[in-house]
């Protein structure tokens, strides 16, 4: 029986080098795949977080109203916001629309939303746990639209609401502009720059008008 011819060293070397070329190509494909997967994933999370926070805030702000009590009006500064609203409180497993006070603000790098439901809304010292709306927030700012009534520039953005002047105390801003800057993480979990989102939420003009004319509760 003839013994089958074995591989020579040269043949083995050639096959190993060809194989390594193929493996390298495959490796680079997988590496790129994993890298783009993480990149898309982190960017997607960022957009998702911004969209989710904005839609939550939109729901809260579109339902806001002016309450006649002195401490319970729409009060906003450049980096936090307090107002009264009507939202679903989900009491006992079912949707339960109720009056509440809502506060937005930053704690560290977390955008927090605190809801004081029912009678808690009128107390200053009530202890209600805040919920995190967005994480890895670099900056959050609010601007408030004040209607000037002129046809060239019908509104102005101002940094706080109400301003010192009297008429704004009993009114809601025409719109709130929220600017949210979120930190993007790279594949190693390090900061890879921030992405800025900005949304204008117009408040319902009917509520605005009712609040401005009577200055009283306008539910």
């Amino acid at each position: 029986m003839k013994r089958p011819r074995s591989f020579t060293l040269v043949e083995v070397l050639i096959s190993v080098s060809i194989f390594s070329v193929i493996i390298l190509a495959l490796y680079s494909v997988f590496r790129t795949a994993v890298m783009s997967y993480t990149r898309i994933g982190s960017a997607f999370d960022l957009y998702q977080a911004a969209r989710a926070s904005f839609s939550r805030m939109e729901l809260d702000l579109k339902n806001c109203f002016i309450f006649s009590g002195d401490d319970s009006r729409f009060a906003g500064t450049g980096d936090d916001l307090k107002f009264f609203s009507v939202i679903d409180l989900y009491g006992g497993g079912s949707a339960n629309p109720g009056v509440c006070r809502i506060e937005y603000g930053m704690k560290g790098d977390i955008l927090e939303r605190t809801v004081y439901p029912g009678i808690e809304a009128l107390k200053d010292d009530s202890e209600v746990p805040a919920q995190g709306l967005a994480y890895n927030v670099r900056a959050l700012s609010f601007q408030y639209a004040y209607l000037t009534g002129s046809s060239d520039s019908p509104f102005e953005w101002q940094e706080s609401w109400p301003k010192e002047s009297g008429e704004q105390i009993k009114a809601l801003p025409a719109a709130v502009k929220i600017t949210l800057s979120l930190v993007e993480k790279d594949s190693k979990g390090k900061d890879a720059g921030a992405v800025e989102f900005s949304k204008v939420i117009a408040l319902p003009s009917l509520v605005r008008a009712a609040g401005a004319s009577t200055g009283e509760g306008s539910e």
Binding site: V21, T32, Y47, P154, K199, V200
Partner: protein
């Protein structure tokens, strides 16, 4: 009985197989780039919608203070390092007394070398004369 060893691969066959494999890898790469490009496209749609919301508020407030339909206006905004063009036209609708608005946001997708537009039609109430 002598075992005839099967014919070994020639260099040509080997080269062809590597070429086929690299062709397949190119397709995989293309799939990855396509995913990145379409993700960027969806990001741009999100940004364009936020921009449209802001513009719609601006236009609505302007129209409230103007008895006539607003003149056509256009401009460009840079958001997240990407350029977005906006243009709007208004048209008086005599039957309803409303003003028809067409807001168009457009941007260029570099990777696809194509211009994309989204149109946001709306109706506005002019100031009573």
């Amino acid at each position: 009985m002598p075992l005839k060893s099967s014919k070994s691969l020639t260099l040509l066959e080997l080269l062809i197989s590597i070429a086929v494999l690299s062709g397949a890898i190119v397709f995989v790469f293309r799939g990855l780039t396509a995913a990145l490009v379409s993700f960027r496209f969806s990001q741009n749609i999100t940004i364009a919608c936020y921009l449209a919301e802001e513009k719609l508020f601006e236009i609505e407030e302007k129209q409230k203070n103007s008895p006539l339909p607003l003149p056509q206006e256009e401009g460009q905004e840079e958001l997240q390092g990407r350029k977005f063009n906006w243009v709007y036209r208004t048209k008086e609708l005599p039957d309803s007394g409303l003003v028809g608005l067409d807001l168009i946001i457009s941007w260029r997708e570099k990777a696809r070398e194509k211009e994309y537009t989204i149109s946001f039609p709306a109706y506005l109430l002019p100031r009573k004369q």
